[in-house]
């Protein structure tokens, strides 16, 4: 483990840029922490924290100048690997019929700064989704293979966090190039750095650092323990697959359906939701057309439409599909739960539907 000063993080960003990475990190925008391109440490949300609850998100000022003192915001890294809108190809009419040209592929080399453990797990999950054994998604995999990941261990947990339940955090255990733990005390602000890959070590060789002291390591440990013991939510995962499979007719779904607006927010903020649609856009001449892939949601009515019918018209069925997929059928599909416990779906639900609470409601309904 190495210890670097707060300002050395700026050097890391600089070095990654020098190496040709498009560096992405958290920034404050529109009253939220979002992920976008950053060029220096000043772009990070210094001194900002957040408060989150079901259906509630507010930024608040911290008094310690922390750079990573907040929980997961509305965006996740999936928007870089699996963009919300992506041109797949275009086609032009010609004398023979038409000709299709694949979209002029730009595959940026990204460095992600500040990836939380839950988010890292979300990337692992999407790795399986977009490499399903039969097919692999070109864009995702081309981007994925070149990412530099600087993880950040959580020192605090949000009110809607439950990564401990999902065994996805708060400590980043693998899959990062470097992992940072931010420590702030009365007169120091530094990072304990763990190198996860040769790529990470190569970077760290360029950065002024000291071997971490026992005290510094203990402080990093304490920070993680603090996050671990302050999870805002818990979700009982024991036997959850059969619980949901067996309870498709539970009245809890009717209760949820009374509140759910089927707005699809939960699926948009979820870092693992992967559904997409394609749109064909044609210009006015009718000679040129483009195919775009866009994020879609199982909450949209058209999602399960077929010629002459629709398999899921009720909101109840659509919510049940989402939650059962996320927590149960995902396990059958990919050998892993689709939920990482980041809590985004709880925070960003306009009516505050809480996935952890609904699971416990189903469990409770069986006891009565």
């Amino acid at each position: 483990m190495k210890t670097i000063s707060k300002d050395s993080l700026d050097k890391i960003i600089g070095y990654l840029k020098y190496k040709g990475y498009k560096v992405i990190g958290p920034s404050v925008r529109d009253g939220a922490i979002i992920y976008d391109e950053i060029s220096c440490i000043e772009d990070l949300p210094a001194g900002w924290g957040d408060e989150q609850e079901a259906g509630h998100y507010r930024l608040r000022k911290r008094n310690d100048g922390a750079l990573f003192g907040y929980a997961a915001g509305p965006q996740s890294w999936k928007k870089f690997l699996f963009p919300g809108k992506l041109k797949l190809w275009e086609a032009e009419k010609n004398s023979k019929g038409f000709e299709i040209t694949p979209a002029n592929g730009q595959f940026p080399k990204y460095a992600f700064i500040g990836v939380r453990s839950c988010e890292l797990h979300a990337v692992f999950i999407q790795d399986k989704v977009f490499n399903n054994g039969m097919f692999s998604d070109t864009y995702y995999n081309k981007i994925r293979k070149n990412i530099f990941i600087a993880a950040v261990n959580c020192a605090e947990a949000g009110k809607t966090c439950f990564c401990v339940s999902m065994k996805t955090g708060p400590k980043a255990e693998e899959g990062y190039d470097i992992a940072l733990t931010e420590i702030i005390n009365q007169d120091e602000h530094y990072f304990v750095v763990d190198e996860g890959t040769p790529k990470g070590s190569e970077l760290m060789e360029q950065i002024e650092s000291l071997t971490s002291t026992e005290e510094q390591l203990a402080a990093a440990d304490d920070a993680l323990k603090n996050a671990e013991s302050n999870m805002g939510r818990t979700l009982e995962t024991d036997g959850i697959k059969s619980l949901l499979y067996k309870n498709h007719a539970n009245t809890v779904w009717d209760q949820i359906a009374k509140r759910c607006l089927s707005c699809a927010n939960c699926t948009m903020v979820c870092p693992t939701c992967f559904c997409s649609n394609v749109e064909d856009v044609t210009d006015l001449s009718g000679d040129h057309t483009e195919r775009w892939r866009t994020w879609d949601s199982c909450f949209n009515l058209d999602y399960s439409k077929v010629a002459g019918g629709n398999f899921r018209t009720s909101i109840k069925a659509r919510y049940r599909q989402w939650m059962t997929h996320k927590l149960a059928s995902w396990i059958d599909q990919f050998g892993i739960s689709g939920c990482v416990g980041c809590g985004r779906c709880i925070t960003w639900c306009p009516v505050g539907i809480d996935i952890t609470k609904e699971v416990s409601n189903i469990r409770k309904s069986l006891k009565n």
Binding site: A91, G97, V129, N132, D280, V306, A307, Q321
Partner: protein
């Protein structure tokens, strides 16, 4: 995955709202379009979009492929307006095929409803071509009305020239209809199934498949002796877009053909 271009060699109407496209390729060897009975292609109409359409030709026929298409949505409507020589896009073939190898040696009972005969036609060709490798062969086919019956000439020829017992029935007759009237499930009585020796392939609207499977079970078939082809909203056909999920399955890659025992637990769940 990017569509390849194929040319319409022929377009003809099977019924009032079902038409067949015969497709050939100049840019790619036709071997690139080889398929197994039961698989589907994504057909692309320029500027309009794609639709998942099962392949309905003889898989041994090497120079073109046929798709029988029900004109029901934007894409199929656009496809219906094609003319000889027009070009469309195609991706595929995708999906699991009918288990024609596994069911060799058994009596075969095919139950088809409406457009559901189209994805089964390649299997019929196959079985007739390898007739000795199968036992008794029965085809039970139900359609909405005499005019909605697919491939009537072919049905007649099969019955006449081949060792196949065919029963057809319509929901509604007109005054010209001299055949059977009623629902397809009633035909099982005439199939004289030997339940242990029989394997069944079922395709049609899901409600028709539900009643057909119930009836097959009543006649002594086990769930694992029945195969069905499910329809869901196939968009990408690669298992990425999520639309065709049915319980834990992606119908585009784990289906559309399923052994019924694999889906029996979820088959009755509403709006799954």
């Amino acid at each position: 995955m990017i569509p390849r271009q194929v040319r319409v060699k022929k377009i003809f109407w099977e019924t009032e709202d079902v038409f067949t496209l015969e497709l050939v390729s100049e840019d790619y060897p036709m071997s690139e379009f080889y398929f197994r009975p039961g698989q589907f292609n994504m057909l692309y109409a320029f500027g309009v979009g794609e639709a998942a359409i099962s392949i309905s030709s003889d898989s041994a026929k090497k120079n073109s492929i046929l798709h029988s298409i029900h004109k029901v949505g934007y894409v199929t409507n656009a496809l219906s307006k094609l003319k000889k020589g027009d070009v469309i896009g195609i991706r595929g073939p995708f999906g699991k095929a009918w288990p024609l190898e596994e069911i060799k040696g058994y009596d075969i009972c095919i139950m088809a409803g409406g457009i559901g005969l189209a994805p089964l036609r390649p299997s019929i060709y196959y079985i007739l071509k390898h007739r000795k490798q199968y036992g008794k062969f029965t085809l039970l086919y139900g359609a909405r009305s005499p005019r909605d019956m697919l491939y009537p000439v072919e049905l007649e020829q099969w019955a006449k020239k081949h060792d196949i017992h065919i029963e057809t029935i319509v929901d509604r007759a007109d005054s010209m209809w001299r055949g059977q009237v009623g629902v397809v499930t009633e035909l099982i009585d005439y199939a004289e199934l030997d339940p242990e020796r029989t394997r069944s392939m079922v395709c049609g609207p899901e409600i028709m498949m539900k009643y057909s499977i119930d009836e097959l079970k009543k006649n002594g078939l086990n769930e694992d002796q029945i195969y069905l082809s499910l329809e869901r909203n196939m968009k990408c056909a690669l298992g990425f877009c999520g639309h065709c999920q049915y319980g834990p399955s992606f119908v585009c890659k784990e289906g559309p053909v399923f052994n019924f025992s694999k889906v029996k637990d979820i088959f009755e769940i509403r709006e799954l």
